[in-house]
């Protein structure tokens, strides 16, 4: 049976094989807090052998700030059932097992709804007549590129496709062992974020000091706690709102790793797609220091 779209080489697999590596994910809960700025800045400041993976496959933006030269593109598919009507006896076992209403019995004809299918293979395994074969549904693409020494990968969810997690897992399976990997995660707290940050060595949470920022940071922290991952906080536009985010971080013992003040010049450079650490080189050593800090923290835990 071919490997499903969901099962790439995950971090645990890679570690079991004895490779040394470091995977840092950047997440936020709320969108637009500066995740991509932080992920790209870390990747551009962490020295050699770096890989940046944009796992925000619904709204992939990291390439707009690191200008990779794309070298290849692959289509990512998920397995979906194809029913051979000549073999189908209409017994309905496939309908009974499907949890996602992706295969139904309509007037004694088995119909499939590939866009609802999660690719579990249950219908195929359940069919006593061997009438179900595996077809494919395209969920998006993965592009590979380089920007000087930086290895870049991102996924792009096909417009109209609902399921981001299988594509995110595929992007993550492109992690090259022995490189420092940085993952730009999607916003939110549900399955796409889990797929992007689970099993990473450290999560950098990016928040802005506003009521929305605090509310969504609290959700992101709960997510990270459920996954039992170490995390730290970057407060972006650190002077635009109030002090509630910093107070929350202190209460929860979440280290504040960096504060980036609001500066219209930074916002304007961002709008033009200029990476922070290149538009304002003084930030490069700060991000290099941030990476070293994370590396030390992870080394201590190990």
């Amino acid at each position: 049976m071919p490997a499903p779209a969901g099962a790439g080489m995950n971090a645990a697999d890679i570690k079991e094989r004895g490779f040394q590596l470091m995977i840092v994910s950047v997440a936020s809960g709320k969108g637009g807090t500066g995740k991509t700025t932080v992920a790209a800045s870390l990747a551009l400041s962490a020295g050699q052998d770096v890989q940046l993976l944009d796992c925000d496959v619904e709204a992939p933006n990291a390439h707009l700030f690191v200008y990779p030269e794309f070298e290849s593109e692959e289509t990512v598919t998920m397995p979906v059932p194809v029913v051979d009507e000549d073999k189908c006896t209409g017994c309905g076992e496939c309908v009974a097992i499907c949890q996602f209403n992706a295969i139904i019995n309509l007037a004694d004809t088995i119909m499939t709804f590939p866009e609802l299918c999660h690719g579990c293979g249950g219908c195929q395994a359940a069919c006593p007549a061997g009438a179900i074969e595996e077809g494919k549904r395209t969920i998006g693409t993965i592009q590979h590129g380089r920007c000087s020494s930086l290895d870049f990968v991102h996924g792009r969810l096909r417009i109209g496709e609902a399921m981001a997690p299988p594509l995110i897992r595929q992007v993550r399976s492109r992690i090259i062992p022995d490189k420092k990997a940085f993952i730009d995660a999607p916003p939110g707290t549900s399955c796409p974020v889990i797929a992007a940050i689970n099993d990473t060595d450290f999560v950098v949470l990016v928040a802005e000091p506003t009521p929305f920022g605090l509310n969504d940071l609290e959700l992101a922290v709960e997510t990270v706690k459920i996954l039992e991952l170490p995390c730290g906080l970057v407060i972006n536009r650190s002077d635009i709102g109030d002090s509630a985010v910093a107070e929350y971080a202190a209460r929860e013992n979440i280290p504040v790793l960096m504060e980036i003040p609001y500066d219209r010049a930074i916002a304007e450079a961002y709008c033009r797609g200029e990476p922070l650490v290149e538009a304002f080189p003084e930030w490069k050593s700060r991000f290099a220091g941030l990476y070293e800090h994370i590396e030390r923290h992870v080394a201590q835990k190990v």
Partner: protein, 286 residues
């Protein structure tokens, strides 16, 4: 009854702040927060919760070690590698497909339905509000989005409210698809940045894919006027009407800190007249 859904593609473009301000301008709207995994509109609306409902969706497998004979069939069939070699299901990785439950000869796999979150019917100073909180690390956000929209529509129908204003989620995936289907129109709030443009193009395509009429509003348009022009050209080429341009205005964040809409915080703020004209244009287009 019509429903306006506010989306953005990219998060943090000002969707919720603008939605809340529009809610204050609308005539007796029903409000709906469809950003169920990072809902924020309640922070401005301070809704008084009238009804709390459980959201049951999806299942998670659990193996009863007493009944398990360690035949290994579940591990072999699970495509998510969610079952450990000692037959424990990782609830985070479990997709809820039920294959292990279905094929276990010993009946050792339990497969209960999940409590995936809660949804609420509330009263706000601008009208009834339907909102939700998806449980952390849960799936089925699309189902919950559909549910809160359906409930908001029911309230609007029974009270003869003519408009539902829905704050949508970011992105283009499952919850966004669930948020826009069947809406009278989507207002895409974008910002004049390379990423704002990139993600706006994707949601314009998404709205087109599902045949939902779209319009755009450019927030913080003065941060980069050449990008603003690019958005306007793109919108014109794609036949997407522009509902207006809103200048960068610190009052937008300050009002949020005070849990107020822009108009409540400072009716004289520069962004106010811009948002007011966005609203009249939206009403013409809807």
């Amino acid at each position: 009854m019509k429903e306006l859904v506010v989306i953005s593609g990219k998060g943090g473009s000002g969707k919720t702040s603008i939605t809340a301000s529009l809610a204050g301008l609308a005539d007796k709207p029903v409000l709906c927060d469809a950003d169920v995994d990072a809902a924020d509109m309640h922070l401005i609306m301070s809704p008084e919760v009238k009804e709390t409902h459980e959201f049951m969706a999806g299942h998670t497998a659990f193996i009863d070690q007493q009944r398990c004979n360690e035949c290994g069939k579940c591990i072999e069939l699970c495509r998510w590698q969610a079952i450990s070699p000692d037959f424990v299901v990782d609830p985070i990785t479990c997709e809820g497909c039920g294959v292990c439950y279905y094929f276990c000869d010993q009946g050792a796999v339990e497969f209960p339905e999940n409590l995936s979150g809660h949804w609420y019917i509330s009263e706000s100073r601008f009208g009834p509000m339907v909102h939700a909180r998806l449980g952390i690390a849960e799936e089925n956000s699309g189902k919950l989005v559909s549910l809160v929209r359906r409930e908001a529509s029911k309230i609007a129908d029974s009270n003869a409210n003519s408009l539902v204003i829905t704050d949508g989620p970011p992105g283009v995936g499952c919850p966004v698809i669930a948020a826009i289907g069947g809406a009278a129109g989507v207002l895409i709030v974008t910002e004049p940045s390379v990423s704002g443009i990139h993600d706006m193009e994707r949601v314009v395509d998404l709205a087109g894919h599902f045949s939902v009429p779209a319009m755009v509003c450019i927030n913080k348009y003065d941060l980069n006027e050449s990008a603003t022009n690019k958005i306007l050209r793109f919108a014109r080429d794609r036949g997407v009407p522009c509902a207006g341009l809103v200048p960068f205005d610190p009052a937008m964040t300050k009002s949020m800190v005070q849990a107020q809409t822009l108009f409540e915080y400072d009716p004289g703020a520069p962004a106010c007249s811009a948002v007011r004209s966005v609203w009249s244009r939206v009403l013409e287009l809807l």
